[in-house]
Assembly symmetry: C2
């Protein structure tokens, strides 16, 4: 029997469609095959990107020159522009404002063929620390209300360049998906005086059917009402509202867990395209008691079609209990890292 | 300068990204190339689908036999099942219920290589009348709250079969996207005592920059804050809440307009993959003064990526004024139909 399941935070219903059930081997995602040639993100092409905002390189080496481990640069084709004021205006019954914000790219490694699954954990940790530094810096701009960090891995996940990179977009508005999480967690807090994600973690760690792993202060879990096959969330096991308040040690723990999880995903599904999105508390009103930051990882294994676009319902052929069991059971080959 | 625009009904913001501006010729969608071979929806294969719920054929011809113009059948791999009760249950802090509902397929024509853009208008009208009949029939089932009619055209739009078809999914819950439209239009009605879509239509018909066409009682318009390049809505020009209350003459008018629009889209973008979704009032509380039914058509020209999934913001490189102008200017070749 297919099942309707409701996300406990935002109230989104999904259809777990057992009639269309699929096993991991039924998916044949476009594997992500890097081909290095004239890549603007590769070492030696530093002059082909906007100048570095921050980077990591050995002392004594000059900015925008080879020898870096990661670089953060402005997006050359930004969705939003840093300059200017919002100038909200009406047009009859419509509202518009200037597209003010920041759009940056984190080039995660000079190695075109590497990934967060294959890089050494120290390098992954450096990328996560770079995320934190950029949020801390952008927080100083009073026009900005939110910084969303995300990653598109593979063409099917929307990546236009193959070289390992993530992005951030900072906006003068809190994105609606974060607003929905804030509203849902506020409703829950009003009722229970507890963080809804802390309660979810407590239940999942006891139940274990949807648990992928727990380590270094982080819990990796298949959500109860996942939109997509093998959707997985990583949360700090203890309550933490704002990602940018993370200590370096915590981010090192996250690096171990993220690297391990992405290896599992790659082994299970054959380096599938995926997106991840970091949901953290808003910059100005952090809702520190009720919000719990988390990383949402969504493999791109199926096309989103008219029903999803028209309804907001998602039809998911893989129960999260099956997804978590398959991810738990993966044996990571020793040569993978 | 990029621009942030807000949808006047649901309040969804989109980024009109002029830095990433693209013209129609910049898109190279996967063209939809039908290849007929062993198609279960083709004439002669009637026994390969579940039995007909309704169909159109000349008098005297038997059901589930050749000679039909359209057929409606149950989906062989339904996302939801007709049998059973909802049985809502809790599991700790989670909620679930049985996946009760209906999932049907409208096989629009026996001609594998045809489409709603190439079929005669009479055949398109028959399909639209079939939609209406199915909604009217499903409305009799008191467990169902909503019927969403949609179409996936082309593999990139999620179609698993090429043969021209649309689908409907009836659910015991009003889908969240319709709920958001209901809530937004109720807020507007409370303030203005007018239907928000009627006001949108008034403004668009006066302004004309986003107008694609007006004919036979329908208005075709590029919405002010479109999520996708060339997103287009078709609305009855006069206030109509429930699609299933349409008269046959109205649906004939819609058939002319839909057929013409899909020809324009095909000529402009080279038979692109697309989805359409029919948003009509809920079955039980039709909100008849404030809701205005409409067909949303979204070509699939770009991948939806991590930022959209994480934020709910959409980045659209084509201003709707440009999209509408390009669609208006298409010359439909006389041989197209």
């Amino acid at each position: 029997m297919p099942e309707l399941r409701k996300d406990p935070v935002v109230g989104r219903w999904v259809i777990i469609s057992t009639e269309r059930a699929r096993r991991p081997s039924d998916f044949a995602p476009d594997p992500v095959r890097p081909r290095a040639s004239n890549c603007v993100f590769c070492e030696g092409n530093e002059d082909k990107t906007p100048p570095e905002i921050i980077a990591s390189r050995a002392a004594g080496l000059g900015a925008n020159m080879p020898g870096w481990r990661y670089r953060v640069v402005s997006n050359k084709f930004p969705a939003l522009r840093v300059e200017g004021d919002l100038e909200p205006t009406g047009e009859g019954l419509y509202d518009r404002m200037n597209g003010v914000g920041a759009h940056e790219v984190v080039i995660e490694t000079p190695d075109h063929a590497a990934s967060l699954a294959t890089l050494p954990v120290d390098a992954v940790a450096e990328v996560l620390i770079a995320y934190r530094e950029r949020v801390r810096d952008l927080k100083k701009d009073p026009r900005l209300e939110y910084v969303l960090i995300f990653k598109n891995h593979g063409e099917a996940a929307g990546a236009s360049l193959e070289h390992p990179h993530s992005q951030l977009i900072a906006t003068p508005i809190i994105p609606v998906m974060v607003q929905e999480e804030l509203a849902g967690s506020a409703r829950y807090f009003e009722l229970k005086e507890r963080c809804v994600w802390c309660d979810v973690l407590r239940q999942e760690r006891r139940d274990r059917r949807r648990l992928v792993m727990e380590a270094h202060g982080f819990t990796v879990v298949a959500p109860f009402a996942p939109r997509f096959p093998f959707e997985t969330w990583i949360l700090p096991t203890r309550h933490r509202a704002a990602f940018e308040d993370s200590e370096v040690d915590e981010l090192r723990g996250l690096a171990v867990v993220l690297n391990d999880f992405l290896q599992r995903l790659g082994v299970l599904l054959g380096d599938p395209p995926f997106n991840y999105m970091l949901h953290t508390a808003p910059l100005r009103e952090p809702a520190s008691e009720q919000f719990h930051w988390h990383l949402e990882i969504i493999p791109k294994l199926a096309r989103v079609a008219g029903y999803e676009w028209g309804s907001g319902f998602f039809i998911n052929p893989v129960p999260p209990e099956d997804a978590a069991a398959a991810l738990r059971d993966v044996t990571i080959p020793p040569a993978a890292s």
